[in-house]
Protein backbone atom coordinates (compact mmCIF):
# COMPACT_ATOMS: atom_id res chain seq x y z
CA UNK A 1 0.00 0.00 0.00
CA UNK A 2 1.42 3.41 -0.96
CA UNK A 3 1.88 5.80 1.94
CA UNK A 4 -0.47 8.79 2.13
CA UNK A 5 1.01 12.06 0.91
CA UNK A 6 -0.99 14.44 3.06
CA UNK A 7 -2.58 14.55 6.51
CA UNK A 8 -6.05 14.49 4.93
CA UNK A 9 -5.22 11.40 2.94
CA UNK A 10 -3.63 9.73 5.99
CA UNK A 11 -6.74 10.34 8.10
CA UNK A 12 -9.02 9.12 5.32
CA UNK A 13 -7.04 5.90 4.97
CA UNK A 14 -6.87 5.38 8.73
CA UNK A 15 -10.64 5.89 9.06
CA UNK A 16 -11.16 3.27 6.35
CA UNK A 17 -9.01 0.79 8.29
CA UNK A 18 -10.78 1.26 11.63
CA UNK A 19 -14.12 -0.50 12.27
CA UNK A 20 -16.81 1.44 10.43
CA UNK A 21 -19.24 3.54 12.41
CA UNK A 22 -17.55 3.44 15.78
CA UNK A 23 -17.52 6.37 18.17
CA UNK A 24 -14.02 5.61 19.34
CA UNK A 25 -12.86 5.20 15.73
CA UNK A 26 -13.96 8.75 14.94
CA UNK A 27 -12.23 9.94 18.10
CA UNK A 28 -9.00 8.17 17.16
CA UNK A 29 -8.99 9.80 13.73
CA UNK A 30 -9.58 13.24 15.26
CA UNK A 31 -6.77 12.72 17.79
CA UNK A 32 -4.41 11.56 15.05
CA UNK A 33 -5.29 14.53 12.83
CA UNK A 34 -4.64 16.95 15.73
CA UNK A 35 -1.33 15.25 16.43
CA UNK A 36 -0.16 15.29 12.80
CA UNK A 37 -1.14 18.93 12.32
CA UNK A 38 0.64 19.93 15.53
CA UNK A 39 3.76 18.01 14.58
CA UNK A 40 3.74 19.41 11.02
CA UNK A 41 3.45 22.93 12.44
CA UNK A 42 6.41 22.31 14.75
CA UNK A 43 8.44 21.12 11.75
CA UNK A 44 7.39 24.06 9.61
CA UNK A 45 9.98 26.80 9.35
CA UNK A 46 7.55 29.38 8.02
CA UNK A 47 4.00 30.24 8.90
CA UNK A 48 2.34 27.99 6.34
CA UNK A 49 2.42 24.22 6.23
CA UNK A 50 4.03 22.60 3.23
CA UNK A 51 3.38 19.12 1.90
CA UNK A 52 6.93 18.21 2.95
CA UNK A 53 6.10 19.15 6.58
CA UNK A 54 2.99 16.97 6.46
CA UNK A 55 4.92 14.06 4.97
CA UNK A 56 7.64 14.29 7.62
CA UNK A 57 4.99 14.39 10.37
CA UNK A 58 3.38 11.28 8.84
CA UNK A 59 6.75 9.52 8.63
CA UNK A 60 7.44 10.18 12.30
CA UNK A 61 3.95 9.06 13.28
CA UNK A 62 4.08 5.63 11.63
CA UNK A 63 2.27 3.97 8.76
CA UNK A 64 -1.51 3.53 8.59
CA UNK A 65 -0.97 -0.26 8.61
CA UNK A 66 1.07 -0.09 11.83
CA UNK A 67 -1.41 2.11 13.67
CA UNK A 68 -4.52 0.20 12.54
CA UNK A 69 -2.88 -3.15 13.41
CA UNK A 70 -1.81 -1.80 16.79
CA UNK A 71 -5.36 -0.69 17.63
CA UNK A 72 -6.79 -4.01 16.45
CA UNK A 73 -4.32 -5.97 18.59
CA UNK A 74 -4.35 -3.84 21.73
CA UNK A 75 -7.75 -2.27 22.07
CA UNK A 76 -10.38 -3.32 19.53
CA UNK A 77 -12.88 -0.53 18.97
CA UNK A 78 -16.39 -1.28 20.16
CA UNK A 79 -19.31 -0.88 17.80
CA UNK A 80 -21.15 2.40 17.90
CA UNK A 81 -24.36 0.86 19.21
CA UNK A 82 -22.66 -0.17 22.49
CA UNK A 83 -23.60 3.06 24.35
CA UNK A 84 -27.22 2.63 23.18
CA UNK A 85 -27.29 -0.97 24.44
CA UNK A 86 -25.84 0.19 27.76
CA UNK A 87 -28.61 2.77 28.21
CA UNK A 88 -31.22 0.23 27.20
CA UNK A 89 -29.81 -2.25 29.71
CA UNK A 90 -30.15 0.28 32.54
CA UNK A 91 -33.89 0.58 31.77
CA UNK A 92 -34.32 -3.17 31.39
CA UNK A 93 -32.51 -3.95 34.67
CA UNK A 94 -34.59 -1.32 36.50
CA UNK A 95 -37.85 -2.72 35.13
CA UNK A 96 -36.97 -6.38 35.70
CA UNK A 97 -35.70 -5.66 39.23
CA UNK A 98 -39.02 -3.98 40.08
CA UNK A 99 -40.80 -6.95 38.54
CA UNK A 100 -38.69 -9.41 40.56
CA UNK A 101 -39.06 -7.41 43.78
CA UNK A 102 -42.86 -7.35 43.33
CA UNK A 103 -42.87 -11.09 42.62
CA UNK A 104 -40.85 -11.78 45.77
CA UNK A 105 -43.02 -9.45 47.85
CA UNK A 106 -46.29 -11.06 46.84
CA UNK A 107 -44.85 -14.58 46.99
CA UNK A 108 -43.18 -14.33 50.39
CA UNK A 109 -45.49 -11.88 52.16
CA UNK A 110 -48.75 -12.64 50.41
CA UNK A 111 -50.99 -15.58 51.05
CA UNK A 112 -49.55 -19.08 50.64
CA UNK A 113 -52.37 -20.62 48.65
CA UNK A 114 -49.98 -21.93 46.01
CA UNK A 115 -48.28 -25.29 46.16
CA UNK A 116 -44.91 -25.10 47.92
CA UNK A 117 -42.96 -25.99 44.76
CA UNK A 118 -44.61 -23.09 42.95
CA UNK A 119 -43.74 -20.70 45.81
CA UNK A 120 -40.18 -22.00 45.69
CA UNK A 121 -40.02 -21.57 41.89
CA UNK A 122 -41.26 -17.98 42.04
CA UNK A 123 -38.87 -17.15 44.89
CA UNK A 124 -35.92 -18.64 42.99
CA UNK A 125 -36.93 -16.74 39.85
CA UNK A 126 -37.13 -13.42 41.74
CA UNK A 127 -33.77 -13.94 43.44
CA UNK A 128 -32.11 -14.99 40.18
CA UNK A 129 -33.47 -11.97 38.27
CA UNK A 130 -32.26 -9.60 41.02
CA UNK A 131 -28.83 -11.30 41.10
CA UNK A 132 -28.46 -11.14 37.32
CA UNK A 133 -29.51 -7.48 37.40
CA UNK A 134 -26.78 -6.89 39.99
CA UNK A 135 -24.19 -8.55 37.76
CA UNK A 136 -25.35 -6.53 34.74
CA UNK A 137 -25.12 -3.31 36.76
CA UNK A 138 -21.62 -4.23 37.90
CA UNK A 139 -20.69 -4.82 34.26
CA UNK A 140 -21.98 -1.35 33.39
CA UNK A 141 -20.37 0.61 36.19
CA UNK A 142 -17.31 -1.26 37.41
CA UNK A 143 -13.97 -1.64 35.67
CA UNK A 144 -13.35 -4.73 37.79
CA UNK A 145 -15.47 -6.82 35.41
CA UNK A 146 -13.25 -6.12 32.42
CA UNK A 147 -11.23 -9.32 32.97
CA UNK A 148 -11.99 -12.43 30.92
CA UNK A 149 -13.23 -14.63 33.80
CA UNK A 150 -15.69 -12.13 35.36
CA UNK A 151 -17.00 -11.31 31.88
CA UNK A 152 -17.52 -15.01 31.18
CA UNK A 153 -19.50 -15.35 34.43
CA UNK A 154 -21.75 -12.42 33.46
CA UNK A 155 -22.09 -13.83 29.93
CA UNK A 156 -23.19 -17.26 31.23
CA UNK A 157 -25.62 -15.68 33.71
CA UNK A 158 -27.08 -13.67 30.82
CA UNK A 159 -27.56 -16.83 28.75
CA UNK A 160 -29.30 -18.41 31.75
CA UNK A 161 -31.58 -15.36 31.97
CA UNK A 162 -32.52 -15.77 28.31
CA UNK A 163 -33.36 -19.41 29.03
CA UNK A 164 -35.45 -18.47 32.09
CA UNK A 165 -37.22 -15.70 30.14
CA UNK A 166 -37.97 -18.08 27.27
CA UNK A 167 -39.27 -20.74 29.65
CA UNK A 168 -41.49 -18.16 31.37
CA UNK A 169 -42.83 -17.08 27.98
CA UNK A 170 -43.51 -20.64 26.84
CA UNK A 171 -45.15 -21.49 30.18
CA UNK A 172 -47.45 -18.45 30.13
CA UNK A 173 -48.35 -19.10 26.48
CA UNK A 174 -49.08 -22.73 27.33
CA UNK A 175 -51.34 -21.69 30.23
CA UNK A 176 -53.05 -19.16 27.99
CA UNK A 177 -53.75 -21.76 25.32
CA UNK A 178 -54.89 -24.47 27.73
CA UNK A 179 -56.95 -22.40 30.17
CA UNK A 180 -57.76 -19.38 28.04
CA UNK A 181 -56.39 -17.21 30.87
CA UNK A 182 -53.70 -15.07 29.29
CA UNK A 183 -51.36 -13.65 31.91
CA UNK A 184 -50.11 -10.38 30.44
CA UNK A 185 -47.72 -9.71 33.33
CA UNK A 186 -45.94 -13.03 32.88
CA UNK A 187 -45.70 -12.48 29.12
CA UNK A 188 -44.30 -8.96 29.54
CA UNK A 189 -41.89 -10.21 32.20
CA UNK A 190 -40.68 -12.96 29.88
CA UNK A 191 -39.98 -10.49 27.06
CA UNK A 192 -38.19 -8.22 29.54
CA UNK A 193 -35.96 -11.03 30.77
CA UNK A 194 -35.05 -12.20 27.27
CA UNK A 195 -34.18 -8.64 26.19
CA UNK A 196 -32.12 -8.04 29.35
CA UNK A 197 -30.30 -11.33 28.89
CA UNK A 198 -29.56 -10.57 25.24
CA UNK A 199 -28.28 -7.05 25.99
CA UNK A 200 -26.11 -8.26 28.87
CA UNK A 201 -24.75 -11.19 26.86
CA UNK A 202 -23.88 -8.86 24.00
CA UNK A 203 -22.01 -6.44 26.27
CA UNK A 204 -20.22 -9.23 28.13
CA UNK A 205 -19.48 -11.28 25.02
CA UNK A 206 -16.07 -12.93 25.17
CA UNK A 207 -13.33 -11.04 23.36
CA UNK A 208 -12.81 -12.76 20.05
CA UNK A 209 -9.37 -12.63 18.43
CA UNK A 210 -9.12 -9.53 16.24
CA UNK A 211 -8.90 -10.11 12.49
CA UNK A 212 -5.40 -9.61 11.22
CA UNK A 213 -5.12 -6.31 9.41
CA UNK A 214 -1.45 -6.66 8.59
CA UNK A 215 -1.21 -6.61 4.85
CA UNK A 216 2.59 -6.95 4.83
Amino acid sequence: MSEPRSINEYCRKLAARLPAGTIRGARVVREVRNHLEEQARSLSSGGTLTLADEQEAIRQFGSVDEIAASFAAQTPLEPENEPVVRKMLVLLVSASSLFAAALLFFTLLGGHDDASWWTLTKTALGVFVLAEGGLASALLWSDRLRGDMPRLLVFLAALALIAVGSATGVWSAHLGLVTGDWDGYAGAGAVLLVLQGAATAWLARPNLPAKSTDSA
Binding site: N34, Q39, A73, Q74, R146
Partner: protein, 107 residues
Protein backbone atom coordinates in the same frame (compact mmCIF):
# COMPACT_ATOMS: atom_id res chain seq x y z
CA UNK B 1 16.97 0.55 23.31
CA UNK B 2 15.44 -2.13 21.11
CA UNK B 3 11.90 -1.21 20.08
CA UNK B 4 10.36 -4.47 21.35
CA UNK B 5 12.02 -4.04 24.76
CA UNK B 6 10.68 -0.51 25.01
CA UNK B 7 7.16 -1.62 24.07
CA UNK B 8 7.19 -3.95 27.09
CA UNK B 9 7.58 -0.94 29.38
CA UNK B 10 5.44 1.52 27.48
CA UNK B 11 2.47 1.26 29.85
CA UNK B 12 4.63 2.24 32.81
CA UNK B 13 6.33 5.05 30.90
CA UNK B 14 3.05 6.52 29.65
CA UNK B 15 1.50 6.34 33.12
CA UNK B 16 4.64 7.95 34.56
CA UNK B 17 4.45 10.93 32.19
CA UNK B 18 0.92 11.60 33.44
CA UNK B 19 1.78 11.66 37.15
CA UNK B 20 2.48 15.41 37.00
CA UNK B 21 -0.91 16.21 35.50
CA UNK B 22 -3.22 15.77 32.50
CA UNK B 23 -1.63 15.75 29.02
CA UNK B 24 -2.83 15.20 25.45
CA UNK B 25 -1.27 12.50 23.27
CA UNK B 26 1.18 14.80 21.51
CA UNK B 27 2.42 16.16 24.85
CA UNK B 28 2.81 12.63 26.25
CA UNK B 29 5.19 11.79 23.40
CA UNK B 30 7.10 15.06 23.75
CA UNK B 31 7.40 14.46 27.49
CA UNK B 32 8.67 10.90 26.94
CA UNK B 33 11.31 12.22 24.53
CA UNK B 34 12.33 15.12 26.74
CA UNK B 35 12.53 13.18 30.00
CA UNK B 36 14.58 10.40 28.36
CA UNK B 37 16.93 12.78 26.54
CA UNK B 38 15.47 11.48 23.23
CA UNK B 39 16.43 7.93 24.22
CA UNK B 40 12.84 6.75 23.76
CA UNK B 41 12.07 7.49 20.14
CA UNK B 42 9.24 5.21 19.05
CA UNK B 43 6.99 5.93 16.08
CA UNK B 44 4.68 8.54 17.60
CA UNK B 45 1.50 6.72 16.61
CA UNK B 46 2.24 3.73 18.84
CA UNK B 47 1.36 5.77 21.93
CA UNK B 48 -2.33 6.24 21.01
CA UNK B 49 -3.32 2.55 21.17
CA UNK B 50 -1.57 2.42 24.55
CA UNK B 51 -3.49 5.46 25.82
CA UNK B 52 -6.79 3.95 24.66
CA UNK B 53 -5.96 0.56 26.18
CA UNK B 54 -5.01 2.12 29.52
CA UNK B 55 -8.23 4.13 29.49
CA UNK B 56 -10.24 0.99 28.78
CA UNK B 57 -8.47 -0.73 31.67
CA UNK B 58 -9.61 2.09 33.96
CA UNK B 59 -6.13 3.52 34.60
CA UNK B 60 -6.79 6.72 32.63
CA UNK B 61 -9.75 8.96 31.97
CA UNK B 62 -9.99 11.41 29.10
CA UNK B 63 -11.98 14.43 27.95
CA UNK B 64 -11.93 16.93 25.13
CA UNK B 65 -10.30 20.21 26.07
CA UNK B 66 -10.21 23.46 24.10
CA UNK B 67 -6.84 25.20 24.19
CA UNK B 68 -5.98 28.17 22.00
CA UNK B 69 -9.01 27.36 19.87
CA UNK B 70 -7.90 23.76 19.32
CA UNK B 71 -9.78 20.75 20.69
CA UNK B 72 -7.51 18.10 22.13
CA UNK B 73 -8.16 14.85 23.93
CA UNK B 74 -6.57 15.19 27.36
CA UNK B 75 -5.71 12.12 29.45
CA UNK B 76 -5.29 11.92 33.19
CA UNK B 77 -4.59 9.24 35.76
CA UNK B 78 -7.50 7.75 37.66
CA UNK B 79 -7.17 6.55 41.23
CA UNK B 80 -6.46 2.99 40.05
CA UNK B 81 -3.97 4.42 37.52
CA UNK B 82 -2.06 6.08 40.37
CA UNK B 83 -2.02 2.80 42.30
CA UNK B 84 -0.85 0.97 39.16
CA UNK B 85 2.08 3.31 38.45
CA UNK B 86 3.10 3.13 42.11
CA UNK B 87 3.17 -0.65 41.97
CA UNK B 88 4.92 -0.80 38.58
CA UNK B 89 7.54 1.71 39.73
CA UNK B 90 8.28 -0.35 42.86
CA UNK B 91 8.62 -3.53 40.79
CA UNK B 92 10.83 -1.81 38.23
CA UNK B 93 13.08 -0.29 40.90
CA UNK B 94 13.64 -3.66 42.55
CA UNK B 95 14.23 -5.34 39.18
CA UNK B 96 16.68 -2.74 37.87
CA UNK B 97 18.59 -2.69 41.17
CA UNK B 98 19.01 -6.48 41.01
CA UNK B 99 20.11 -6.37 37.34
CA UNK B 100 22.59 -3.58 38.05
CA UNK B 101 24.11 -5.53 40.91
CA UNK B 102 24.47 -8.71 38.82
CA UNK B 103 25.90 -6.88 35.80
CA UNK B 104 28.13 -4.77 38.07
CA UNK B 105 29.55 -7.92 39.67
CA UNK B 106 30.35 -9.40 36.24
CA UNK B 107 32.05 -6.29 34.91
Amino acid sequence: MHGETLKGHLDMLVLATLTEGPLHGYAVIQSLRKLSGRYFDLPEGTVYPVLHRLERAGFLSSRWSAEFGRRRRVYQLTRSGRAEIKQQTAEWTAFSRAVTEVVGAVT
